[in-house]
């Protein structure tokens, strides 16, 4: 007898399949040179944003808490890994090994921050949690923007004041130069690596959601008090989810920082966190596949709208508002569903009529 896959497994395998198809398609397009250089430059950021969106979906969709600090964790990952890569640039020359280590460093440091921040913050809920995570993201951004790190023969120098305050010897090198950010990070990110990491992230998330822990987290989301009364340790599960979100955001940050020669902390402001939240909400809360699609489409959209240059961001804003109203207003939504059903009926009718219709055309 044929064994049937359970619907969850099937759903995740469809996503893996779709991702593979997209990857092969992009590779073919790349080898035939039919992607413009501007689009090529967007390939790594799309993967980065997708990873950020799927990981934020863990907190927003699976845990059901609103976090606006995603950019902060990304910033931590980006900086930690860039410092690491800059330090070992001479000693480890094999880029694959160096980058793998950098990714782990970025992820782990971000996860540590996630735990440190999560312990006090996760006591709060709803809009309060949103504003506190936003606050943490801004603190991280501001501290990194005021950070100066350099190294010389005497070791690592860290200061929060100025470059001169470091007291570097003449042979010293700056790694982080305050508001000017990191520079000299080896450009190890490629589309292939970014894609593989996106793929792994999706696998991790699907497996997490369908594991015992994931089910526990969802039960907390659906009814916290009931979950507590059956003996679930709320704080533990919340922290696990939060740390995993932070870990993946840190990994995404690593990919991001190793994609550019120089990077400023000001890039990681709350607008970036909001952007990622927009991906999650438009893709469908709790829907992993949707997050990736939304991240890809909304990253490409401003580029595709470049022909109407000045109006593109205005257009983007209008699309955002209209999308939210259309998907969330009951009257409009039921109108769409009704018409969609009708349309579906029409198409299927045509199919059942079969060849006759085709012949006639």
């Amino acid at each position: 007898m044929k064994k049937k896959l359970n619907p969850q497994t099937r759903k995740s395998f469809i996503t893996y399949g779709l991702l593979m198809i997209v990857f092969i398609a992009v590779e073919i397009l790349l080898s035939t040179g039919s992607i413009s250089s501007m689009m090529q430059g967007l390939l790594v950021p799309i993967c980065v944003y997708s990873i950020l969106a799927v990981s934020l979906n863990l907190t927003v969709g699976i845990l059901g808490e609103l976090s606006l600090g995603q950019a902060g964790f990304m910033c931590v990952g980006a900086y930690a890994s860039a410092i690491f890569s800059n330090l070992v640039k001479e000693s480890i020359t094999q880029p694959m090994i160096r980058f793998t280590l950098a990714i782990l460093v970025g992820g782990v440091v971000a996860a540590l921050f996630g735990i440190i921040i999560g312990i006090p913050v996760l006591r709060l809920r709803g809009d309060y949690l949103a504003i506190v995570t936003l606050a943490f993201g801004e603190i991280i951004k501001n501290v990194f923007a005021a950070l100066y790190i350099g190294y010389d023969s005497a070791g690592l120098h860290i200061s929060l004041k100025s470059q001169g305050d470091l007291g570097l010897k003449p042979d010293g090198k700056m790694i982080i130069n305050g508001a000017l950010g990191i520079s000299g990070t080896p450009n190890d990110s490629t589309f292939e690596i970014a894609f593989v990491i996106l793929f792994i992230s999706v696998i991790i998330i699907y497996n997490f959601v369908h594991s015992r822990t994931g089910r526990a987290v969802m039960s907390i989301r659906d009814n916290r008090i009931a979950a507590e009364s059956v003996g679930l340790n709320i704080t533990k599960y919340k922290l696990i989810t939060f740390a995993l979100t932070a870990f993946l955001a840190g990994v995404a940050g690593t990919l991001y920082s190793h994609n550019f020669y120089s990077l400023q902390a000001s890039k990681f402001d709350y607008n970036l966190s909001i952007l990622i939240l927009v991906f999650v909400v438009l893709g469908g809360i709790g829907n992993i596949r949707g997050s990736i699609i939304a991240a890809a489409v909304l990253t490409l959209l401003p580029e595709l709208l470049r022909s109407i240059n000045n109006y593109r961001m205005l257009f983007y804003a209008v699309i955002l508002i209209v999308m939210m109203i259309c998907t969330s207003n009951e009257t409009i939504r039921s109108f769409f569903i009704r018409n969609f059903e009708k349309l579906k009926g029409l198409i299927f009718k045509k199919k059942s009529d079969g060849a006759a219709v085709k012949e006639a055309e």
Binding site: R123, V143, A226, Y270, V281, N310, Y316, M324, T327, S328
Partner: protein
Amino acid sequence: MAFLDYLINGISLGSIYAVIALGYTLVYGIAKMLNFAHGDIIMVGGYAVFTAMVTWGWSTWVAMLFAVVVCTLLGITIEKVAYKPLRKASSLSVLITAIGVSYFLQNLALLIFDEKPKVFTSVVNIPKINLFDGKVVIKGETTAAILVSVVIVVGLSLFINHTQKGRAMLAVSEDKDAAQLMGINVNSTISLTFAIGSGLAAVAGMLLCSSYPTLTNTTGAMPGIKAFVAAVFGGIGSIPGAMIGGILIGVIEILGRAYISPQLADAMVFAVLILVLMIKPTGILGKKINEKV
């Protein structure tokens, strides 16, 4: 004396935050939504005064009135077009819509007024006050900001607690359905709230641009966020709380900038917010809400 100078500057900036925070608190209390676009209404107010005064050459008072009217109408329109269809939707959808409105306003301003910052001429015409033989100077803008915020807080408290419309707002914030059963028009009450909040944002915009005279399309964003922090800090939904929160945030920011590090002033503001919420999760004057099973 430098300390006193910083303190007065802090209170002045804090008073502006307080006026913005009042708008946030009102809207949050009644519509239960984070109106991310609130900060951008400040920017619209700034541009409205600027256009009326510089481009059209109107007198200061008329220009100020014009800005308040523009922002009030804008607030009502935004509520009707973008938020009203989402009254029953999840709070996250409303939040994203508010972000959409914020993007819209910022980019519309960018299109109309382009990227170059406008130099704002102060609307305040109050003479300087010299204290301690001129060692401490209180600028006219500072006096105006403090006076205006006090008048607004007192006026708003009186309005909410002692008029029929105000009490209707209280009732809607307490329980929307019950208020409707009591014959309160919930939709018009919410519109009124947005109108007041946006009018206050216009006032805040003028005060802010008079003290910090560069006007760009993102002028309102950061003060908006900080004012929201102030509202949460003081206990969201509470009018005196917004005032206290605003002034504390302003003072912390200016003192932090002066004595600790200019780059870390914003970080300190947010750190204090986190500390307060850790100790008292509903803010200084916030009400405790018991969760029911």
